[in-house]
């Protein structure tokens, strides 16, 4: 009896948290709408600067109707996907080379440290000179922004593989290559996923910068173009879509993580009741 009651309580608890989260969001949007509606009569500030959620939805509907919204989303999704994967591959390859060869590490690391901290926006002109403004150049920029932070995680992951696993594998007859593929890579993977989650924010930041380079579609382009023409409705729409895309990508990564790393244990209880 008592046990069942306990279970019920815990069920209600989980539900309550979820409810508060959703209520919080609803209150946020209602408040925003409310302020905008008040503002329309009271003129506290220029309504151009804060379009009401309903207005943003109107813009969205308009673009859905004329079919451009899907084009914008499609272009950005393609660029982010391609750039992200390219970045991951480069980070993995460089990470392997750097951890395998001390010589390579010594040669390349000082250069990466030199170039790493430069905001992509700063070297856009030079980037355009060298790589043009084609699709591959946009993807390249996004890949670059993704790869930089990810590399550190990859190297850390590879370097911190539990040496006992390596020893175990070798005394089970694994060659150096096999150790690398069967032990080091899977062991470094969790770290790489952490790195991916961290660099995803930069991937999306880079999208906006990449779409400054002669894009004629994409969510970043939408923002830049809307900035030029001061269409705040468009800006908010693009921002919202970027937010949603980011969340979708992140939860996709987390879901993949959960599937791949189902061998991990989790959970840690509070210290005192």
């Amino acid at each position: 009896m008592e046990y069942k009651q306990r279970k019920k309580i815990s069920f209600i608890k989980i539900d309550r948290h979820q409810v508060i989260r959703i209520v919080s969001l609803i209150v946020f949007f209602l408040g925003w709408q409310f302020i905008c509606m008040i503002n329309e009569t009271q003129e506290l500030f220029n309504p151009k600067f804060l379009p009401a959620p309903t207005q943003v939805i109107e813009v969205a509907v308009k673009y859905i109707m004329d079919g451009t919204l899907l084009v914008h989303i499609g272009a950005s999704v393609y660029r982010v996907l391609a750039g992200f994967f390219a970045g991951v591959v480069v980070a993995l390859v460089l990470g392997i080379l750097i951890t395998k060869s001390k010589m390579f590490d010594n040669t390349i690391s000082p250069l990466l440290n030199l170039i790493g901290p430069i905001p992509v926006y700063a070297f856009l002109p030079i980037f355009i000179i060298w790589f043009g403004i084609g699709e591959s150049s946009k993807v390249g920029l996004i890949a670059y922004a993704t790869f930089m932070p990810l590399l550190t995680y990859t190297i850390d992951g590879i370097r911190n593989v539990n040496p006992i696993w390596i020893r175990s594998a070798m005394s089970l007859g694994a060659s150096e290559r096999q150790v690398f593929i069967k032990i080091v890579l899977p062991a470094a993977l969790p770290n790489m996923f952490t790195g991916m989650k961290v660099s995803l924010a930069l991937t999306f930041s880079a999208l906006v910068v990449a779409e400054m380079m002669g894009a004629d579609k994409g969510l970043g382009f939408m923002i830049i173009n809307a900035r030029n023409w001061f269409k705040t409705g468009d800006i908010f729409l693009a921002i919202a879509l970027i937010g949603i895309l980011y969340s979708l990508f992140l939860s996709a990564i987390i879901r993949i993580e959960k599937i791949i790393f189902k061998w991990k244990k989790d959970g840690l209880d509070g210290a005192i009741e």
């Binding site: 006992i164 020893r167 175990s168 070798m170 005394s171 089970l172 007859g173 062991a187 991990k264």
Partner: protein, 252 residues
């Protein structure tokens, strides 16, 4: 046929913090086929260092180690190793862990053999579980099954029972002896528990300050009875050699 010769081996480490210069200082002994050797000694006396040399993870500074007359080149499936921290691959299930070496060797019977060894250590029901859901004792048994599966000539065990609680530990000792008798292996078993060594070993090698202080045959019939005087005498003798503690110290 697995005989091991450790010939005048010296080993030290860069940046070693110790009052002695060599961690292993002229270590020399021979092990015949199918022997069960226990190596005992205080913490830091070089037990793990010696085992790592035999396993081929590190190389001696001087001297040589021969397995069946051939110098050890590096780690290989001939020399199975069981670690104190079990060293299971957490991303592989129990069975996948056991099958790891078999798959590497491209053995066609990998699956059956893995199943057989999982059964042998009594974990049939846990075959498809990941190591994170095993208790310490179970994990250790998987470690042993994994090392046995590739049928190594020599089994090296570095305090394989150190992390277990007393009950599990006792069961495991019985199981290890059982496996050794069934599978006819040469085993080198590191421990710092003297009674454990006396219970398990044909021969106990006592290391002190990197040197072999004693190489003692245990002339007791198996299964050995702990509470017999003969057993306790061995324990007492070895403990006296090991420590300067007073009589209050009791066997573990």
């Amino acid at each position: 046929m697995a005989t091991l010769e450790v010939k005048r081996v010296f080993k030290t480490f860069e940046g070693l913090k110790s009052d002695r210069f060599y961690v292993l200082d002229d270590v020399d002994f021979k092990i015949s086929e199918n022997e069960f050797i226990c190596i005992i000694g205080k913490s830091g006396c070089g037990k793990s260092t010696l085992l790592n040399l035999i396993a081929g993870f590190t190389k001696p500074d001087n001297g040589e180690i021969l397995l069946d007359g051939k110098a050890i080149e590096g780690p290989s499936a001939e020399k199975g190793v069981v670690f104190q921290e079990h060293g299971l691959f957490p991303w592989r299930t129990v069975k996948q862990n056991v099958a790891f070496g078999l798959k590497l060797a491209k053995r066609k019977d990998a699956d059956q053999r893995a199943d057989y060894f999982v059964d042998l250590v009594g974990l049939t029901d846990y075959k498809d579980k990941y190591p994170s859901s095993l208790s310490g004792g179970m994990a250790q048994r998987v470690g042993i099954a994994r090392a046995l599966a590739t049928d190594p000539k020599l089994l090296l065990m570095d305090e394989p029972l150190g992390a277990l609680d007393a009950m599990t530990r006792e069961k495991m000792r019985v199981e290890i002896l059982d496996i050794w008798q069934k599978k006819k292996k040469t085993i080198i078993f590191v421990t710092h528990s003297v009674p454990e060594a006396v219970y398990l070993a044909d021969r106990v090698i006592l290391l002190k300050d990197g040197q072999v202080k004693l190489d003692q045959h245990i002339e007791l019939k198996r299964p050995r009875q702990v509470r017999t005087e003969a057993f306790q005498n061995y324990v007492h003798e070895l403990e006296q050699l090991l420590t300067d503690c007073d009589d209050n110290v009791f066997s573990e």
